[in-house]
Amino acid sequence: MPSARLEAEAPPLNPVGPVDPAPPRPTRGPSSPRSPEAYGRPTARAAPAISAGTVVVLLSLWWIASERGWVPPLFLPSPRAIWQTFLSLQAEDSTGGTLLQHAGASLARVFGAFLVAALFAIPVGLSMGTSRILRGILDPLVEFYRPLPPLAYLPMTIIWFGIGEKQKGVLLFLAMFAPLALSARAGVRSVAAEQVQAALSLGASRRQIFLHVVLRAALPEILTGMRIAIGFGWTTLVAAEMVAATRGLGQMVLNASGFLRTDIMVVGIVLIGLIACTFDLLMRQLERWLVPWKGRA
């Protein structure tokens, strides 16, 4: 039965009339090359032209909306006003420091806390990955506090550490510790049993295997963890600077909101975003440079 249906649907084998060669199918010219993998997995290729288009369209909309007065400047200052504010913020004024000082204070907090967190979290993660006992001890701690939003324990850090730089550092440290530790731990797991066995058969000691195999195999995951941690720290920054900070981009934004200075707020927000993006790009570049084998071995 199925075969009969197939035959009915197939074109007649002997068409009436002269048999012409089938006309050539239209092919796409070299001007529009298309990937033949039409049904593969979703492509991971970047689309920079399209992304640039998004940015241009959004900026134009913003510009038109503010120039035409569709939105009052209090809600959304024009790009020109933002640029002027950006320039005026180079000098010290009502915000309590130059823009550079604010950015510097924030960068110092995030990266200072990041360095300390990395110094502790990566060894902790590595030892969780290699030692069953340490994993047993630390697992409930890390797994419990990892999903906590930093804002939830922010008040505790104030009670414990006051409102100075120490409290801000601790908050950022805690925010970044978990992703760093967990990525280092996952990195240890990414070493193949065959790699360890090969190293043993080549005469490597346990210590050498840790240094020359496990650590190297864990590096891609550790770098990914660093990227995630910095992102997380950056999002926690504003919360950290909410309490009694005199300088910092988060503090600048919060402070400006008290005076309805939306222009300063937008400058601060854009700058926080740009710094985060820049760092992310740098980390990706670092990955390409340090672990070119990632995902290929």
Partner: protein
């Protein structure tokens, strides 16, 4: 001279539904310069047997002696070539080959000489500075072979080294392995589930039956040496004697499965 002495070896893995007997009273001896092939379907304990010789696992019964010394842990006297995932992608070809020498404190110049000659042996001398993750599967296996040989092991253990390669690369690699074997004179223990590969490469073949893994058939074979004399693999493999041995072994394996 007896070099590898597997004495009454048993390995039992604990498992949820009672213990699994991976190897049961396996007993054989390899003399220096022989090439033994362990053949069998998946799950017959071939890799467990190799692991016990390599020292990756402790047998539950019996023991393995290398030159009269009992195996208790992995060591550079037993070089291992794995099916895959065993190279270090963060090192280039040359540094992969030198890894064992570096771990054991061999001076840089000496290691470089040794790695160069090993790479020459496997035909990769012009790829010394290439990243390993850019090489084809066959070339990666040649790096693995060179790395294992660089430590000048007594015995070379090969755990399905050609299992992940395409048929053409596989045939070329079989010839390369015979070449390397004859030039270095190493004692080789080789695992495969390809009957033809076993008949072509081995001076001896062991057929293992699954669950419990035990030796059900052993045979001596002349075809590897014949290839080294004639240099024509197709002629050797289509020889009626070769075909007959292949079918005999295939039959022996079929019987283990019924």
């Amino acid at each position: 001279m007896t070099q590898v002495d597997v004495q009454d070896l048993s390995v039992v893995y604990p498992a949820p539904g009672g213990a699994v007997e991976a190897l049961s009273r396996v007993d054989f001896t390899m003399r220096k310069g022989e090439l033994w092939v362990a053949l069998g379907a998946s799950g017959c304990g071939k890799s467990t047997l190799l692991g016990a010789i390599a020292g990756f696992l402790r047998p539950t019964g019996g023991r393995v002696l290398i030159n009269g010394q009992e195996v208790v842990r992995p060591g550079p006297d037993r070089g291992v070539v794995f099916q895959k995932h065993a190279l270090f992608p963060w090192l280039d070809v040359e540094r992969n080959v030198e890894f064992g020498l570096r771990m054991r404190g061999v001076a840089r110049a000496e290691r470089r000489d040794l790695s160069r000659s090993m790479l020459q042996l496997v035909g990769l001398e012009s790829f010394a500075r290439h990243p390993v993750y850019q090489l084809s599967g066959g070339m990666q296996q040649r790096v693995g072979l060179a790395r294992a040989l660089a430590s000048d092991p007594e015995v070379l253990l090969m755990d399905e080294p050609l299992g992940a390669l395409d048929a053409f690369t596989r045939e070329a690699m079989q010839e390369l392995i015979l070449d390397v074997w004859s030039r270095t004179g190493k004692t080789v223990f080789f695992i495969t589930h390809s009957v033809e590969e076993a008949v072509f490469l081995g001076t001896h073949v062991l057929i293992l039956s699954p669950q419990p893994g035990r030796i059900v058939h052993r045979a001596e074979l002349p075809f590897g040496r014949r290839f080294l004399e004639t240099r024509n693999a197709r002629v050797v493999k289509s020889d009626p004697a070769f075909v007959q041995r292949r079918e005999e072994l295939l039959d022996a394996i079929r019987q283990t499965r019924s």
